[in-house]
Amino acid sequence: MKEKKTHIRNFSIIAHIDHGKSTLADRLLEITGSVSKREMTQQVLDNMDLEKERGITIKATAVRLDYKAKDGETYSLNLIDTPGHVDFNYEVSRSLAACEGALLVVDATQGVEAQTLANTYLALDNDLEMVPVINKVDLPAAEPARVAAEVEDIIGLDCSEAPQISAKTGLNVEEVLEQIVNNIPCPEGDDDAPFKALVFDSVYDNYKGVIVYVRVMDGTLRPGDTMRMMATGAQFTVVEVGAMRAMGLEPCDALRAGEVGYITASIKTVRDARVGDTVTTAANPASEPLEGYRKVNPMVFCGIYPADGADYEALRDALEKLQLNDAALTYEPETSGALGFGFRCGFLGLLHLEIIQERLEREYNLDLVSTVPSVIYKFHLADDTVLEIDNPTKYPDPTMIAWSEEPIAEVHIYSPPDYVGTIMELCQSRRGIFKNMDYITSDRVDIHYILPLNEIIYDFFDSLKSRTKGYASLDYTVIGYEKSNLVKLDVLLNGDMVDALSYIIFSDSAYSRARKIAEKLKEHIPRQMFEIPVQIAIGGKIIARETIKAMRKDVLAKCYGGDITRKKKLLEKQKEGKKRMRSFGTVEVPQEAFMAILKLDDQ
């Protein structure tokens, strides 16, 4: 029998990047006493160093707050934090499926941005109750009335009651908590029905094994019960259940319908507890699993290789662990003539790619080399077969290609009108087709373009940001494929082809791109003991060339008594430096060179 869990609220916060989501989360934790002032660090929920440094949320995390409301009752509020960036929409949709409502945070100095909209639509798709919150009203440039009107106009949410807050100073944040209690519906569920819980995240812990984060829909789960993962059929004895508190896990006697909590069950392999799966019990299994998440398909691919071949197994392990709570990441083994054994990995976008690389390097202490990213191209061959290729090394024999296609995306860029010119220039230079432009308000424009995806995945976002001083925001959706003339650029260093640097590209852009790649490589490959020709070729034809002059002078003139130890230390350093290099034939290429050739905008 379904009953209302009147004292539970499950909600998430959605916002455009930098609109103050993490700061608001910090303040909610503080006001509810979940974190004492003393323990308060900035962005408590953004655990990863990477998140704190970049000021973004990458991973969803959940935390339970106890709040004594003005009606005198104490409520359990489960906050599920979500990322804001377009690359991480799948994380957002996962979190939203575990909630009944969401706070929509809008910056009073900025207004509605691309990701505000994108995430709002996701929330509405999930039938969530939206609570608008106007943040940063303490800033001199704040225009809460205008921004509230914007939210009403564009999104259609009633903002007459919207709390006008400053997450930074704490102004009116209490009002947000009241609205969570009053406006977000409580969950419903049956404690006695067969157990059914949605896995919305999982992390690996060296002591507890896999920790599974769930939202319970129905039923009750206790330590000692035998749980079953409905997709894999794997069974485990529950060791511990409990709530995620700001300062750590807090075990409890049982997880019941409507609650958000965690389960540990000595689960050893990450494959057994996939995000999106449904947990039930062996004794009283649910008949149907919950609807999982929309499967997200990676759109950007690159090869990731360990700098030291001996780390191949460690890399596989790390990828497996990351994939556990990042369903969008895919990987499969591949080999490169230049780089040896590694993995072809799939990502949602370039930021996702960079984040995964950094996490592999930092959290798993791996030295990596990655190849040029690629999208999935379709080649229609003379014999009527179609090849789908995400790896330039698999580019077919050109004489066999009848025609080819590349993925295209619909792009919305929101910006103050001042930057329309430079944005359009950028889009044109990336083969964009202008669709239309709407004035959302007098100082906010929605510029609508169709762009080939491969033009977006390199440095488009960075270029957009730098051309608009950070004011423009971007959202894109892949809408299909379009006919395109595609060629493969090959890079030859000292006459040897480096397969890891090959690149599929629109043929009209080939010459100018080739010149740029040659320049970038010249800039980023240090002088070596001999002259290195850098050549870019299509098929057998060289279309660009640069020369890296030989290093002429690298010598320690004096090596007497005390210099010997110094010299040995220098040698050690050189050896360390060498580890960051890959040798191709006789040429040593630093890792930065691989990424540098992707940065193409000279503005």
Binding site: D554, V555, G561, T565
Partner: protein
């Protein structure tokens, strides 16, 4: 038991040259105290005891007074130190005893006479450039005539084994002005020369003012080096190390110890030693030295990689014979293989005797040696 080289660091200069990062001060009041501390250390080895307990048993084969400016410190102090050495160590009859001196030191005649009388038989003089305007920019007070006079004075005192220091890649230098310095060197008929590519060291005046110095660029400095090697080799001064040239038989025996991984004991602030497999050194602080602070351990020395690194600085390179004699193995095949690929780039010469860096190879020796060492198969070395 192996022979020993003794190095004394004399950390006194009249002033600091703008390119120099050696440890020195201009405090005459410490001269005597310093002499006493050095002599005491020779006698008791109280500072170096931990590393050098058996040093007194070794025959001293070379002695070197470096600086700083030993000539500034004075011959009398040098005489006392040498006296102490003779009392405490067996000193080889043909020991090479070198003193560094500055041509601007007053009354070098007396200085050389006292030195010679005390046993000094080799002089190393800092000329740096024969072009007065260049020398001025280097902060050198003497002029070319002073250098000539100093050499004459040394010869008069009976010391004909003299070395001149030259610098290349210095401010305002051109191929022509370098040629002038090289010609001066050859004309002066010294049997030894050290020629150093300027490296701008952190903490020096040059480092702070690098952009204003009118330094030759890397490629130009490299061509200066090749010009130097070429000219000196053709004029009887054979290159025997990256920066050192000599008439046959006049190579610096003391400095060669460093590159042949032989033992030496360094006394004085900033002086380093290699003894019984350990490398150790005094800190750059004369007061710590005067107060009796012992040297600090730096690292273990004497291994094969280190040997390769040092020997490849020498023109004779790494030889099969010496490798066998010192480590009971030939040159590892992996090393030979790595060296071979640089032969066609004219950076290394490989032969049945061993491997040698060419002058072009010396110019990129940091990189080259790092690469060679990185290619040694660890199972092939002791």
């Amino acid at each position: 038991m192996d022979t020993l080289g003794l190095y004394f660091h004399i950390p006194f200069c009249k002033g600091k040259c703008p390119y120099c990062d050696f440890y020195s001060l201009a405090d005459k009041s410490l001269y005597t105290a310093y002499k006493e501390a050095v002599c005491e250390e020779i006698k008791t080895l109280s500072r170096c005891r931990e590393f050098a307990a058996d040093a007194h048993k070794r025959t001293v084969d070379t002695v070197y007074f470096g600086g700083g400016t030993p000539s500034e410190w004075g011959a009398e102090n040098i005489r006392c130190v040498l006296q102490a050495v003779k009392e405490q160590f067996p000193l080889a009859a043909d020991a090479e005893i070198t003193v560094e001196c500055n041509p601007s030191t007053p009354d070098l005649q007396t200085f050389f006479a006292v030195c010679a009388e005390s046993g000094v038989n080799r002089i190393s003089m800092g000329m740096q450039s024969a072009v007065d305007s260049e020398r001025k920019k280097l902060g050198r007070r003497a002029n070319a005539a002073d250098v000539r006079a100093a050499l004459y004075a040394a010869k008069n005192a009976g010391i004909s084994d003299c070395s001149l220091d030259l610098m290349i890649g210095i401010p305002d230098q051109t191929a022509e002005s370098l040629q002038q310095s090289l010609q001066f060197l050859v004309d002066s008929q010294v049997p030894h020369a050290s020629v150093y590519l300027l490296s701008v060291e952190e903490g020096t005046f040059f480092h702070k003012n690098q952009s204003k110095l009118n330094l030759p660029d890397e490629d130009t400095a490299a061509s200066f080096y090749l010009q130097t090697v070429d000219f000196l080799n053709n004029n009887g001064l054979q290159q025997y190390e990256i920066s050192n040239f000599a008439r046959p038989g006049y190579e610096s025996r003391h400095n060669t110890r460093y590159w042949e991984q032989k033992e030496y004991l360094g006394i004085g602030p900033a002086a380093h030693s290699f003894l019984n497999g350990k490398r150790f050194g005094f800190t750059r602080d004369i007061h710590a030295f005067l107060q009796g602070q012992p040297p600090a351990f730096c690292d273990d020395g004497g291994d094969f990689e280190e040997y390769v690194m040092l020997r490849l600085r020498l023109a004779k390179g790494l030889t099969q014979t010496d490798c066998r004699q010192k480590f009971s193995i030939g040159i590892p095949p992996s090393l030979l293989q790595a060296a071979a690929k640089y032969e066609k780039l004219n950076l290394i010469k490989c032969g049945s005797q061993g491997i040698q860096l060419t002058p072009q190879g010396f110019l990129v020796s940091n990189m080259l040696i790092a690469d060679l060492l990185g290619n040694i198969d660890p199972t092939e070395v002791p």
